[in-house]
């Protein structure tokens, strides 16, 4: 439907009156003396001369001038052919920048993000005067690229700046960002541009109209969705590589395993939709290795970022365990397990750091370790809330799904020490301090765990020597569980490939600044925590990240490894609270301004009129 943005421009049509008057007053006619008008009068009186067409030609210049004026007036009125967005005054555009948006179309070669940018750009280009748009990009989190603005350059620049992030997408974060924007500057509708590769169920109450524009799917895709290693007996690693494909029929492919840059193994696979392929490589664990798996398929593969995965395989060494010499029961239980190097004692000199420390001495709290079991020690931070007294206590309840307490029965265990909450204190106070209670006694917590980032510290507040626990069958089970936890936290049992999103690194020099360099070369300085950890480092793209500090340079590689992104699946509808939003494949039809075209046409008409006017008049 056609409309006008500036109807006041129609008032300028009144200029036609002086134009006509001036035309007739100033009509440029060359006076030409002729012997007689006898013949010319007869010619002028001829019916053919006075035909409508000839009448039109007689005042052609005037008609052209009027047509030019009409065109200019029409252009000033800013006419447009209404689009789907003709009633929108303010609208945020949410653009999905997740990994799946990098999928390229087989025919056009365009990524989904490029397609989304094109659609957004068409809306920006046809932005009506006074209307405002905002650009929000989202993947795992949303980022506001621009606020509401009518400035097309700002909007276009924001679209240009948007880049793919090799992570999954969280549409809810984008909607919450839009909701937050709506509180400051209200709007009626939101445009969501995505390939639909996100969870369809969104916990969100939609306060505005959501226009979900789903981009057409790209071609078939195949990728690595999991890359990990499990420690096998004999000091070897079993490396698992899982691959998935969206192809309807089996597509042959090859997965290659590179070890420190050298191709060590390759396997041929046949990939098909809903038929996950898993390949196992066996590698010696005598040295630490950097592994890289690469998948190539015969046929089109729309997403490149999921075709490679990295894995840092550590040395398959024994678990270094420090056990205080006085803890005989613990030592006895651990001595029955293989693959452990127990300190002090049987394995040479003491190590500088341990994978597990089991102690009941406060002097040994400073030992560097990943996992720890502190027996009969109340953490200093907890002392204000929990005190030990003697009198005997029992375990009343415990978290049976806790990794430490698997397969354990604590009902009959009697503790001489009695942890008691200080008056007014409770579990909430401990949780506020970062301690979780996994075993509750009658008057206070019996076992606490503390997540220290790099590992877990378990505080058994009651000493085992003053309890019946060592005499229960559950004790060696608990020790076995503890060793398993230590194995995992020391990455000695299983190694997972790091995924894009956020990275965490440990065993760094505590409190020291480190230079963190992304694959694109951008470097920023990050300070290690007091326990020597850096957590939550943003790693939005696939590739190798470098951390440089006093202890040297460490390289870690992040991989996509997201089955959802690899599947390129799409949600046809968004299931919101009490509302379902259907996806539309048809792009919003932007408003088509006609001012430029009409002004150009009017200019051409006036140019033609000027040419006619200046054409050699009279005798040619």
């Amino acid at each position: 439907m056609m409309g006008f943005h500036a109807l006041w421009g129609a008032a300028l049509a009144g200029l036609a009156v002086p134009l006509i008057v001036l035309y007739f007053l100033k009509l440029k006619r060359t006076r030409l003396d002729v012997p007689s008008l006898v013949l010319w009068r007869q010619v002028i009186d001829d019916a053919r001369v006075n035909s409508p067409f000839q009448r039109f030609k007689r005042n052609l210049l005037l008609l052209l001038q009027l047509a030019g004026l009409a065109g200019l007036v029409l252009a000033l009125m800013q006419p447009f052919i209404g689009g789907d967005d003709d009633r929108i005054e303010r609208m945020p555009i949410l653009v999905d920048c997740s990994a799946s948006m990098a999928a390229r179309d087989e025919t056009t070669g365009k990524t989904r993000l490029e397609l989304a940018k094109e659609r957004a750009r068409s809306l920006v280009d046809s932005l009506r005067p006074g209307a405002e748009l905002a650009i929000v990009s989202f993947a795992m989190s949303a980022s506001r690229m621009t606020g509401f603005t009518s400035d097309r350059r700002d909007l276009s620049d924001a679209l240009e700046r948007m880049e793919i992030q090799d992570v999954g997408s969280d549409v809810e974060s984008a909607l919450r960002m839009a909701e937050a924007m709506a509180r400051r500057e209200p709007f009626d509708s939101v445009l969501l541009l995505s390939d639909g590769n996100f969870p369809a169920d969104v916990e969100f109450d939609l306060p505005f109209k959501l226009d979900y524009q789903r981009l057409p799917p790209a071609g078939q895709n195949a990728g690595i969705t999991s890359f990990n290693a499990l420690r096998a007996p004999g000091g070897t690693w079993n490396v698992f590589c899982r691959m998935e494909s969206t192809a309807d029929s089996a597509v042959p492919g090859t997965v290659k395993l590179y070890c420190d840059g050298e191709l060590v193994q390759r396997e041929d696979v046949a990939l098909q939709r809903d038929a996950t392929q898993r390949v196992v490589f066996s590698l010696a664990g005598d040295t630490a290795k950097r592994l890289r798996a690469e998948l190539s398929v015969d046929g089109y593969d729309s997403l490149a970022t999921d075709d490679a995965a990295h894995l840092d395989l550590p040395l398959a060494r024994p678990l270094r365990v420090w056990v205080s010499p006085g803890l005989t029961a613990v030592r006895h239980a651990l001595s029955a397990m293989s693959g452990l190097a127990i300190y002090p004692g049987d394995v040479g000199a003491d190590a500088s750091s341990y994978d597990l420390v089991v102690t009941d001495k406060r002097t040994e709290l400073d030992l560097r370790t990943t996992s720890a079991l502190y027996i009969g020690l109340v953490p200093d931070a907890v002392k204000a809330h929990v005190a030990l007294s003697e009198g005997g206590s029992r375990a009343i309840d415990w978290q049976r799904d806790s990794a430490l307490l698997r397969h354990m029965e604590l009902t009959d265990v009697v503790f001489v020490d009695t942890p008691t909450f200080a008056p007014g204190s409770g579990v909430a106070d401990l949780e506020a301090l970062g301690f979780m209670t996994i075993v509750d006694g009658a008057s206070g917590p019996v076992v606490l765990t503390e997540d220290r980032g790099a590992g877990t510290a378990v505080y058994l507040l009651c000493h085992t020597d003053r309890s019946t626990l060592p005499y229960r069958v559950g004790f060696p089970v608990m020790m076995r569980n503890l060793v398993e936890i230590a194995y995992h936290e020391a990455n000695l049992a299983e190694v997972e490939s790091l995924k894009t999103g956020t990275l965490s690194l440990h065993d760094l020099t505590p409190g020291v600044a480190h230079a963190f360099t992304t694959p694109s070369g951008h470097t920023r300085e990050l300070k290690a925590s007091a326990v020597g950890s850096l957590v939550g480092m943003s790693a939005p793209v696939v590739g190798e990240y470098t951390l440089t500090g006093p202890g040297g340079t460490r390289m870690v590689a992040a991989s996509l490894l997201d089955p959802e992104e690899t599947s390129l699946a799409y949600a046809q509808e968004l299931l919101l609270h009490e509302l379902t939003v259907e996806a539309s494949l048809t792009p919003l039809r932007p408003e088509r301004p006609l001012s430029g075209s009409i002004a150009l046409a009017a200019f051409c008409v006036l140019l033609g009129e000027w040419w006619l006017f200046n054409r050699r008049p009279g005798v040619s």
Partner: protein, 309 residues
Amino acid sequence: VSGALDQQAAESQRAAQLTPLLPNDVLSRLERLRLSASKRFVAKAHGEHVSGRGGTSVEFSDYRDYAAGDDMRFVDWNIFARLNRPYLKLFQREEEMNVVVLVDASSSMLFEGKLDRAKELAAGLGVVGLLGAERVSLGVFNAKNGAVSKLGPCTGRANMLKLFRFLEGVEGGGDAPVEHGIERFLRQHTGRGVAVLLSDFLTYGDLKRAMNLLFGSGLEVYAVQILGPEERDPTLAGDVRLVDTETGDTLDVSSASDLLDIYQEYRAGFQSRLESLARARGGLFASVGSDDSLRWILFDLFRRKGWLS
């Protein structure tokens, strides 16, 4: 130097001319031509113009039946003796013919040398008449002062210079209708013969009446329309305001180039009408351009049309 010499030669040649109206070679060729009148609108006086029948010369022409009142002297008695019926002998008669040359000197004739061409043609035809022993009269109407000037009738070579000077002195610029000038001329004219009317005929006047006046006076009308190149093939374009030089009237014409075809149709129709007017009165019509060669008009066009022989 060569330019000056050329100019001097041209001036000396002009000085040697009998009249600026006609070159000497044209004059000498005209001496050998005679006017051919198709009708016998002749004067009773004897002249050098040979009439078809009924003359009194010695040259036999034909016989006809005797009618009461015929001169008995022309009865062929030999025939009468043989057939016992009277037949009259007819002889070719050499008659004196009036040649009236009428020049329209209106303002419209001042364009593109039309009046000059009219004067030249009048001089040429006048010379032919004088040297053919015809009674030549010249009439100029619509001249600058509006009066009708008349020369003659005169005859013979002796009046040639007089004729030239008369024509050389003609100044155009009048604006009266054609028939008014003709009417005023005919008031002073008597005698039958040929009237050569030199005009562009671009007049609001009644041309039919003008023709009737001449025809009624016993003059066979030779109408010569003289048009300028721009009248015959106008090249107007765009928006123009045409100004009638005779009346001062104006006419706005837009997209004139698109009207040229219609103009040509009207011009051709106008010429047809003039021709039919002349023919209906036993006359002839010719249209010439002011840019046409004088020699071509006199020695080619007029001879082919049979006006001169």
